[in-house]
Symmetry: C2
Subunit: 430 residues, 2 copies
């Protein structure tokens, strides 16, 4: 039986938005339906999310971009996070993940759900960890029920996708903690579960009771973002046993989830030298049956804090050409602090560059159309059309402000190459 | 006869700095000597440049970064360009190119030469074009002698390397102007020569009288940066006939130049989709006998003005893994205006990310050492050591300012994954 038949919420959502989605993506409705059925596309959308605009993730639909937002114990201002969310969406974010770990998390989440129509993702274990920490306990005291109750709570509230580190098996987490890895576990959720398993000598409840998770998600068409809790946090750990052990688990879980009617995405690494990106992305796609791949980076350097949005754009662009479907932004604040509003914008723009570069390399029609418009405008020195074709028209306008009446730019001035040759007739026909 | 025996200025320079260069680069002196003899390395340095610190370009020496600085008809402030130069050098630029086209160009150039010890490059035809423009003439009225006199003048002044578009043959330039190319010629120098040839129906004097150029350069060990006047200015033009015709010329000219004792680098594209970068760089290196390759970008998108430093870092990083030796920075102002001081810093940093990402992928020892230090510091949550290992320590300090006394960062706070697992003992030995 097909996934659309098993998942009533998804079936309704797809039926309602099929033609809009097809138009927006420039795909045939059948192509989208096949993608969802094959598990190579997911349609994000929880019917409990007010005014939801659902989103398709999975090539050949457009590459999507996520912005991580949220309070932290050291930077706890809901108002600031709201400003950042608006900035991210204005800059072109397709989804927001609320990663808040300080303040009234239920209030933050429900406010975000009612404020914004684009899909919202969360990492439910963060809320559990905060509650536990608030009562002075440690994460190993977490009860399985607490975790599943929180997941149920967030799904009911309308969250569209959740990161759940189901693939962090006891065996895999011990591999990551063992002597063969340089930087252990760098995922917050992954570290919590690893600690819980190590201290309690029990298997990961999200893996052990995976059916319970699926039972919750199918009711609201919540898409599982199968988290990469063991992603390499150092380039030298990329492709190690712990990472692949988890990927193997994720692939099996994604297949089983889909059989039960729940949509699944796969989260991917992480830190990875650029020569490994193509091979690893292809390997992950193979092991996870080409499920939509949602990546952080990949970050092709470890030593570039302050510029990780650029290191991530390098890995992301190559990743897209190898099968990545969904980019989680990295901001210039990564590894250092929570991002400012300006950082958020820079993070989105870097991801847009990566997505566009990847789509151009893949020959995607719309990306090539954009390039064609830009090049035609450049040939005509038509700044209005250049501005329109740019991935950030506002930035072009801002930078041209001082010389907006000039035909040429202030770099070359009268020595503009295009201007120099405008009245020249070539002497060749071919 | 070897290049060192033919080029006395180079021979002296190398003898004087051999051991420092070897130490700085972590290479054996013989390796450097062989590189220079084979033409796979060049040693930038004109004896007339006061207080010069010479620079080696060519893998496996460290990847070098150039910053373009200079006045333009619409932004003509020597003081601003001086501030930008200082910022570029402080941020880590290895060389500066003075591309000024407004003001007293001789004064600007000689001031820069006496102000800064790092190698300075220029594009002599710009000064000729300015003089011609100042007298109300058009570039096609340029006399061959004017060009060679200006080159001689700049070499005498102490310029260390010059961009000369010797490969823009009449045939090649007509290919670029013809119907098979979308965006014609986007190089300023290239467009001037193309116009000159088209209007005068004569061959490029820099090609036609190449020996005259070599005669000037050998006296001062001025390195030729054989310019890519026909580089693609649009991704769809990458790899076209005009581009390769010029590359073929550049390879022949580099070989002949070396035979005559003049060091040569090759300039490379330009706009190029990322899937083409590796193949094109390998092709260019092959056709140019592995001469040091100095690239602008490659820019993997056309539609990213405001973010071309990122699009360029993507191409640059891949390029380095394919053989690129020298990166010309791109700033966020590219295609729009002259860069501000902040743009200059962003441009250098983006190039440093690209260079570092490429060197990590190539397994260069020093790049891996940096990553190792960073990862060890991260494991210990040692912010002092993280700051030291970062490509921009100042940026790390600045972003940590508000929370500098915290052991964790303000993103994860107490939920830091490293902290969560610090007291956990793995249960596995392997």
């Amino acid at each position: 039986m097909s996934i659309l038949n098993k998942n009533t919420a998804l079936q309704k959502l797809f039926a309602m938005h099929k033609s809009d989605l097809a138009k927006d993506e420039g795909l045939a409705p059948e192509q989208i339906e096949n993608g969802i059925e094959n598990g190579t596309m997911v349609l994000l959308g929880n019917p409990n999310h007010p005014n939801l605009v659902p989103l398709l993730v999975g090539q050949p639909s457009r590459i999507k971009i996520n912005a991580n937002i949220g309070t932290s114990p050291l930077c706890n201002s809901m108002e600031h996070e709201r400003t950042k969310t608006k900035a991210a969406l204005d800059a072109g974010a397709d989804t927001i993940m609320d990663l808040s770990t300080a303040g009234d998390l239920d209030a933050i989440r429900t406010t975000m759900l009612s404020d914004w129509a684009k899909p919202l993702g969360t990492v439910p274990i963060y809320s559990v960890a905060k509650k536990i920490s608030d009562t002075g306990r440690k994460i190993e005291s977490m009860q399985e029920d607490e975790l599943f109750k929180e997941i149920d709570n967030q799904c009911k509230q309308g969250v569209d996708f959740i990161t759940v580190h189901c693939g962090v098996s006891k065996v895999a987490s011990e591999m990551a903690l063992g002597p063969n890895r340089t930087l252990g576990i760098v995922s917050r959720g992954g570290s919590m579960l690893a600690r819980w398993m190590n201290c309690n000598n029990k298997e990961n409840p999200l893996l052990n009771e995976y059916d319970r998770l699926l039972d919750i998600c199918i009711r609201y068409n919540v898409t599982l973002s199968l988290g990469d809790g063991l992603r390499p946090g150092a380039g030298c750990d990329a492709g190690d046993a712990a990472q692949w052990e988890e990927v193997i688990n994720l692939g099996r879980l994604a297949r089983y989830g889909k059989e039960r009617g729940v949509q699944c995405m796969i989260e991917g690494p992480g830190h990875m030298p650029l020569n490994l990106v193509r091979g690893q992305i292809e390997g992950i796609k193979r092991l996870t049956n080409n499920a939509p791949l949602y990546v952080l980076g990949p970050l092709v350097c470890d030593s570039t804090p302050g510029y990780d949005h650029i290191a991530g754009a390098i890995g992301g662009a190559i990743g897209v050409t190898a099968g990545v479907d969904f980019l989680c932004y990295l901001t210039p604040a990564e590894h250092l602090t929570l991002p400012s509003t300006e950082d958020v914008i820079q993070g989105i723009m870097a991801s847009k560059v990566a997505a566009h570069a990847g789509e151009v390399a893949l020959g995607r029609e719309r990306a090539l159309e954009r390039e064609k418009s830009m090049n035609a405008a450049r040939k005509e020195l038509n700044w209005e059309k250049m501005t329109e074709a740019a991935i950030d028209p506002k930035m072009v306008t801002k930078r041209r402000e001082k010389h907006s009446r000039e035909e040429v730019c202030a770099m070359c001035g009268e020595f503009c190459a295009v201007k120099t040759l405008r009245d020249i007739t070539p002497k060749t026909k071919f």
